[in-house]
């Protein structure tokens, strides 16, 4: 709908018009022609709220940009606009939860994890309040530069006692995760994909279970362990690698905390597989290091590699450019895996 959202430079570097790449804040992560579903979070939350009248919606001036406006339209009297004030948002959510309600509070991942961290830590996690924190633009899903690139949100929320951390892959998983998070009593951090969200996992007969990793495809040479949009990429990479006669498995780990240690250990114990953890997050403190720590503690030692964002402030630019540059595009994943296999 928006013009020139992520038109990438075409052709050579000859003279002429400037390249129509863009460092826009909001770009779709759906690739051209991919099946998508609109606003799965907003619609699923409306469903949940029909069954659970304790559910309230809250946002910090990002209702329209987190698909929460759909809830706001369905339940105007259960919707609180808190203004662009993220600390207030989470403090007030804690208060509502203490009074027996179930607030679902939305903003961008950067603002929950950075601006409001202490408020979430003290008023929600430490008090173990039933607040659902749902945040758009996780990891590198904005070309707008570090201010909008939540490259360390998983590390921060993993480090918080009591917090459940979910990194869903697609529209189907978001819908199911919303139901599951409603059933779970206690704080949850859910990474949100919004707008037209890719639909991928229905082809794998998948269903989300809180705390469970799922093997989406088997393979004997490589084992991808991934979460979020990187599962979509890992599945694409696994398919592409078939052309090079490389057989890759994909273990999807949407719940970053608590980690499904049994499934990960079992998958990593199978001998002879290169283990590659792929995450849309800095390599510091996310799924990669969580898996590495687990394997070390349990004495399981496969050949282990990590695909993730580098420990630096990332550039502004078009998302496809940035995903290639920082190694999380499907093409970049395939190249790295082939290198590692030698």
């Amino acid at each position: 709908m928006k013009p020139a959202a992520t038109k990438v430079a075409s052709g050579g570097s000859g003279a002429g018009k400037p390249r129509l790449t863009t460092s826009a804040m909001i770009a779709s992560i759906a690739s051209e022609g991919q099946r998508t579903k609109p606003a799965p979070f907003g619609h699923a939350l409306v469903e949940l709220a029909r069954q659970d009248d304790t559910i309230l919606g809250m946002t910090a001036d990002l209702g329209k940009y987190t698909d929460l406006h759909i809830f706001g339209q369905a339940f105007p009297d259960r919707y609180y606009q808190m203004g662009m004030a993220e600390q207030l948002l989470f403090g007030a959510a804690s208060g509502l939860a203490a009074e027996g309600f179930t607030p679902v509070a939305t903003t961008y991942a950067v603002f929950a994890s950075r601006r409001a961290y202490d408020f979430i830590h003290q008023t929600i996690a430490e008090e173990d309040r039933n607040v659902k924190i749902v945040c758009a633009l996780p990891g590198l899903t904005s070309g707008y530069g570090p201010s909008h690139q939540a490259t360390e949100d998983l590390a921060l929320f993993r480090a918080m006692p009591n917090m459940v951390v979910i990194d869903p892959c697609d529209a189907l998983e978001i819908e199911q995760a919303v139901t599951a998070m409603g059933r779970h009593k206690g704080p949850v951090y859910l990474r949100l994909l919004r707008g037209q969200v890719p639909l991928v996992l229905d082809e794998y007969g998948y269903s989300f279970e809180l705390g469970k990793a799922k093997m989406l495809r088997d393979g004997y040479e490589v084992l991808f362990i991934s979460s979020g949009i990187m599962t979509m990429r890992a599945l694409e990479a696994a398919k592409a690698l078939e052309n090079d006669r490389i057989d890759a498995a994909v273990l999807h780990v949407p719940t970053i905390k608590p980690l499904d240690t049994a499934a990960i250990l079992e998958a990593c114990s199978r001998p002879g597989r290169l283990v590659v953890v792929a995450e849309n997050h800095t390599v510091n403190g996310g799924l990669g290091e969580a898996v590495a720590g687990l394997l070390m503690r349990e004495g399981v030692h496969p050949v282990f590699r990590m695909i993730g964002l580098p420990d630096e402030f990332l550039a502004a630019g078009a998302l496809p450019t940035l995903h290639d540059r920082y190694g999380i595009s499907t093409g970049a994943i395939c190249n790295r895996v082939k290198e590692w296999l030698g």
Partner: protein
């Protein structure tokens, strides 16, 4: 060299018009951008850069300059237009706006652009930095001032009020803050997202020298900057509350349904330039 010498024969009206034109040309490059905001704030920026501030275009880090902080980093397109007009960024670069490797990314960042003194994007940070800069300049016995532009949406952030309180506490009369009251933020009209009026009374009560002006009336804006500058030495920070109209200067954009991202169709950039051309001042 001071600004006065460059801007000698060019009217403020024309500077503001040029800033609007540069901004539309950048918007056209990407087919998007915060163009309605750039148009609403062009008069304030023209006054800051061509009437009020002291700087050297060829030496953007000159120690004796007045500092300008863009707290609302998404207004970068507007500040780039002013920096181009001021000769700090070459005009050719507007062709690269928002493209990979450009020095003009969509969100303002200090490490990318000469003349951009802070990294924005995350709102509500500028006034805190301004407090530190003002304290630092006073320690250095510098007579430079710190100008800080922020948005009405930022009034929602607690950090803004922390800075407002401390600027008065430290008697930072070298601080001139301008808030763009365009009555718009992401989810709707600012006054309905979070009521902030009566704003003048609130900021006055915090101990600031406070003026409220039509931010698209160059005469009023210029007088307000003059009065704010005259506060130096009187122990109070200055706030200019600028009421502005999104899309100002391009009638069909002024009339368009208000939105944080005002829609501009592909063919409308040319129309916007034409509409502006019809209103070109001497």
């Amino acid at each position: 060299m001071s600004t006065a010498s460059i801007g000698h024969n060019v009217s403020l009206e024309r500077r503001a018009w040029n800033i609007r034109r540069h901004a539309i040309l950048m918007g056209e490059v990407q087919g998007q951008g915060y163009i309605a905001q750039a148009l609403d704030i062009a008069d304030v920026l023209a006054t800051a850069y061509f009437h009020a501030m002291r700087y050297r275009p060829d030496d953007p880090e000159w120690e004796g300059r007045d500092r300008f902080l863009l707290s609302n980093g998404h207004y970068a397109i507007a500040l780039y237009a002013a920096l181009i007009e001021a000769g700090i960024v070459p005009e050719e670069e507007l062709e690269s706006y928002g493209s990979d490797e450009s020095r003009l990314p969509m969100s303002g960042m200090a490490s990318y652009t000469p003349g951009m003194e802070m990294s924005g994007g995350s709102l509500g940070l500028g006034l805190s930095i301004a407090v530190g800069k003002c304290l630092g300049l006073k320690r250095k016995r510098s007579d430079s001032r710190v100008y800080t532009l922020f948005s009405d949406g930022e009034l929602d952030e607690g950090s803004v009020w922390e800075a407002i309180m401390s600027a008065a506490h430290y008697k930072l009369d070298n601080l001139i803050a301008i808030v763009d009251v365009n009555n718009q933020q992401a989810d709707g009209p600012s006054t309905s997202v979070m009521a902030f009026e009566p704003l003048t009374d609130k900021i006055e009560a915090f101990g600031w020298f406070t003026q409220r002006v039509d931010g698209n009336d160059l005469g009023e804006v210029r007088d307000a900057f003059d009065a704010a500058k005259a506060q130096h030495g009187r122990g109070k920070p200055s706030m200019i509350i600028a009421d502005t109209l999104m899309g100002k200067g391009v009638p069909f954009l002024e009339a368009r349904e208000k939105n944080h991202f005002i829609r501009v169709e592909g063919h409308e950039w040319e129309l916007a330039l034409a509409a502006l051309e019809e209103r070109k001042p001497a």
